[in-house]
Structure formats: C-alpha cells, structure tokens
Amino acid sequence: MTETAFSMTGGRVSYDGKSVLQGIDLTVSSGEVVALLGANGSGKSTLVRALLGLTPLSGGRTLLYGVPPAKFRDWWRIGYVPQRLQVGGGVPATVREVVASGRIARQSRLRRTNAADRSAVAQALEAVRLTARANDPVQSLSGGQQQRVLIARALAGEPDTYVMDEPTAGVDAETQQLLADTLAGLVLGGKTVVLVAHELGPLEPIITRGVLIREGRVVHDGPPPRPEGECARPGHDHQHAHAVESVAGPLTGWQGEPR
C-alpha cells in the first residue's frame, strides 16, 4: 500500500498581506523523489516549510501522513534538512552533538541514549564522511561540511521522508556528489524525498518528479526536466559560477513546452 506523505489542497500563504503561495495542490506519495524547482523568491522554500507546518497556511489545508501538522505526532517519520546550519550564540557544539540531536524525535524525554542511537549516529557520520571530524566544533567546518552535518542529522533520525531545503546550494562538487549517492541509497530503501533545488546537478538521475513553482503557483508537475544542449554533454557538471544566480540552467527545456 502506498501512503501519502504530504497532501496540500488549495494551499495559500501570505506574509503581511502579500501573497507568497496560492492555490497549491500537491500530493507526495511515499517512495517518490520530488524536486521543487523555481527561481529565487518563487515560493519553493515557503512551500516546503508550509508542507511541514512551519509556516502557517492562510488558506487551504495540508496533511502530513493524513494528519494536520498541529495534530501530527509521528515526527520521527520526517527528516528536515534546513538551508543553513544555525550555530547558536557562539556556544560550541561538536559535529557528533548536532548529528545526535537528529534522534530527538525518537528519544522520549527520559530515555537514555542507547546502542541503537549511537550506531545510527555513527552510520550517519560515516555516510557523509565526517567521522574523523565528529569531535570538532561545527563552527570550525566549511559551508559544504556544515551542509553534510545537516544531512547527517536527518539521516541519524532514520525517518521515512526527507525534506531538504536547497541541499545543493553553495556546496562544493564533492558534497553534491556525496549527497546524490546518499539519496540514491535512501531511494533504493523506499524512502520519500522532497527537495528544493535551483538546479539538479548530480541529483538529476534519482528525481522521479519535478514540480516547478513560479510566482507562488505550480506551473509544471510531472517528469523531471532532462538537461539539454551544453548541460547534457557527458562530463558536464553544474559547478559553473553562475549556478546560483541562474534560474534557467537545466530548466530551459521546459519553458516553451506545452503542458
């Protein structure tokens, strides 16, 4: 039986009267690997946050595994990877401490850390190849390494569904490839993935569905875009300097296509 991980109907979000998302209908079944694509400010990050109930809807409704976010209890099923690692107020935290905090939804208040927790954390660190840095403060890591810490934190929770907000933005090629390999493994294991991306790069082969957001609306929902022209050449990687600004990139193939 396929479950529905996310289901939003008529989702609307506005900040201070300004509409950011409108009329969003989006259902994600388990096992899907969905990429939310769009330009800066198109509302794709707001959409993932709204799917998780982090941003309240001003209209419509959204369900997490069939339950509204406010009533949702099985948060261990969700692994959220935010855009950036927050380094709180200068108090150091080791890589291991941050990754271990990904177990929080599985660890009830008074339960002590057990062997299963420790091995999940160790595996997550290994998956992102940060085992050697486990006892270093996260503040001392580079941006790409911090992104890996965030991914490891989600992995450590062993969720069913991963929600990632721009996991590839501003990250070195090695980390992008590492992320692609990690995700491919998760997808094989039947996990669900929803990720926000500017361009797919090495993630492209594993994406099963692309949802293009423009000006707060879904303008395309279907098979993922395939790179064309220059970008499709074998050996071409998407590490060009304009990657961050570029809206089009691999999406150019879509723009004129009839839906």
Partner: protein, 291 residues
C-alpha cells in the same frame, strides 16, 4: 584559618549559597547564550526588584514575591520575543525600566524599606543569608538542575535552531517558557549572592570563558559550572578575608579575570587546533579549489 571559618554558621550558609549559585547560573546561562538571549537575565533581574519591594510592602518574604514577579516578567519577555516584532526590543526596555523604577518606588513606600535593604538586593548581601533563605535557594537550585537534566536534550535543539525543534515535533512554546521560567528562578537564587544588577554576569561570563576552551556543548556547560563555582566561592573568600571587599563585585570581577585569562589560553588552544585540522583537511581543500 579556612577550617575555623568553616565552623562558623554564617560562613557555612554563605558558602552553600555561593556553591549553588555558582552551579546553577552557568548551567542555565549556557542555554541562554546559545539562544542569543544573553541579556535575558538582566531583564529578569530588573523586574525582580519590583517583586522584592512588593514583599517588603506586603510583609511577605521578598524571595517569594521575587519568584512570582520574575516568573511573570520572564513569561512576558518570552511572549514579546516569540512574536518577533521589531518593537519587541523597545517593549523589553520598557519592562526593564518599569521593573527598576517600580522596585525603588515601592521600596520607598514600604514600611521598613530602606536604601540599605534596597542595596542588599541590588548588589547582593551574601553575609546576611539566613537558614530559611538557604532552604529556598536549595529548593530552587534543585528545580533548576532538574530542568537541565530532564529537558537538556530538547533545550539544546530548541536553543540551537528553533525551527528544527518545531520540525522534530518538540513542544516549542512549552520549552521556551520553561527556559524563561528557569532563568527567572536562577535570578532569584543568585539575587542574594551577587545582587540583581550582577545576576546576569554569573549566567553569561562563565559560559563565555568556557567556550574559549571547549569544542562541544556538554563540555562547555560542565566547564562553565566549574568556573561559576570557582568565581562565586573565590569571591566569597575574598570578601571574608577583607571586610572592605563587597562579595558580589568580587565574584563578578573574578569571573571576568578568568575570562581574560581564558581568552589568552584559548588563542593558543585554537592555534594548535587549526594546525592539526588543516592537515586533515588538505585533500578536501584541493577538491574545493578545483571546483
């Protein structure tokens, strides 16, 4: 001489108070600094003064009224913070001034209220701690440490990244109020020892000192508690040996001296650390350079 001192009841009481404060304030302070609310203790301290004065006015124990009023103040500060409006900054400032002015005013009106009493709460009067005070301080300290032990894991996630806490299903509002209320209790514990105006120093300085030397959250908190105890007991001893030394100020100055020292030591520690980690980093750096 210390052995003789230890047999004096007054000194024993003061020592217990100093130990408890030295342990509790930095423990709560670690979360508060991590949450970027280093001045929360100051705010609560200001409001607590009104609570103390209310105690004198109504003939109730000032510690009790201080607990109640500072909890109300802490909850108010948290509610303003959670709304996240830009005016929140000003709203907090208003609350602080109101707290101090209200306290001074009520203290003036209260029968038996005097400037000396006011000073003892503003700047601490560890020598005048009574056995009843110690009981209250000890119970509050147990509550504070209990919160840190039971909720520490959740508070770590909350103070590190509130959004992450929400996406992990943690009761964010409850935990936010919990940390604010725990800070309020800590302020009241520390009020007799270092005084309301310097309470926050014991919550923040040992943490700032500790983070110069540590790599992890847990070790930062542990070391901060050690520094807190060293400063508070050291300050107490200094004021016992020379009656001219005010204990509250001595404690805070000792803590600051420790910070300056750690700043220097930390530079060396970090220099060694970057050298060792840049060696392990080299292959990665090369990849990033190519990309």
């Amino acid at each position: 001489m210390i052995i003789e001192l230890l047999q004096e009841e007054l000194f024993q009481l003061a020592l217990v108070a100093a130990l408890l404060v030295g342990l509790c304030a930095p423990a709560v302070g670690t979360f508060i600094v991590q949450r970027r609310l280093a001045l929360l203790g100051d705010g609560i301290g200001h409001v607590a003064l009104t609570g103390v004065a209310l105690g004198f006015l109504t003939g109730t124990a000032p510690v009790l009224t201080a607990v109640i009023v500072s909890i109300i103040g802490a909850v108010a500060i948290e509610l303003v913070r959670a709304r996240g409006r830009t005016s929140g900054d000003v709203a907090l400032a208003l609350l602080f001034y109101g707290g101090i002015a209200g306290g001074v005013m009520l203290m003036g009106i209260a029968p038996g209220g005097s400037n000396a009493k006011l000073n003892s709460y503003l700047f601490g009067a560890i020598a005048s701690v009574t056995p009843e005070d110690i009981w209250v301080i000890a119970m509050l300290a147990v509550a504070v440490i209990g919160v840190v032990v039971v909720f520490g894991r959740e508070l770590f996630v909350l103070c590190q990244d509130e959004e992450m806490a929400r996406a992990s299903g943690l009761p964010v509002r409850f935990l936010s109020l919990l940390i604010a209320i725990t800070a309020a209790l800590t302020v009241v514990i520390a009020m007799r020892v270092v005084g309301l105006l310097l309470v926050s120093a014991l919550m923040v300085i040992p943490v700032a000192t500790s983070q110069q030397l540590t790599r992890g959250f847990r070790t930062t908190m542990g070391l901060a508690m050690l520094f807190g105890v060293l400063a508070s007991v050291g300050g107490l001893l200094a004021s016992t040996f020379s009656t001219k030394v005010p204990p509250g100020a001595a404690i805070v100055l000792l803590a600051l001296a420790g910070f300056v020292l750690a700043l220097g030591v930390g530079k060396f520690v970090r220099r060694g650390r970057t050298q060792e980690s840049s060696v392990t980093d080299r292959p990665q750096l090369r990849v990033e350079e190519v990309a």
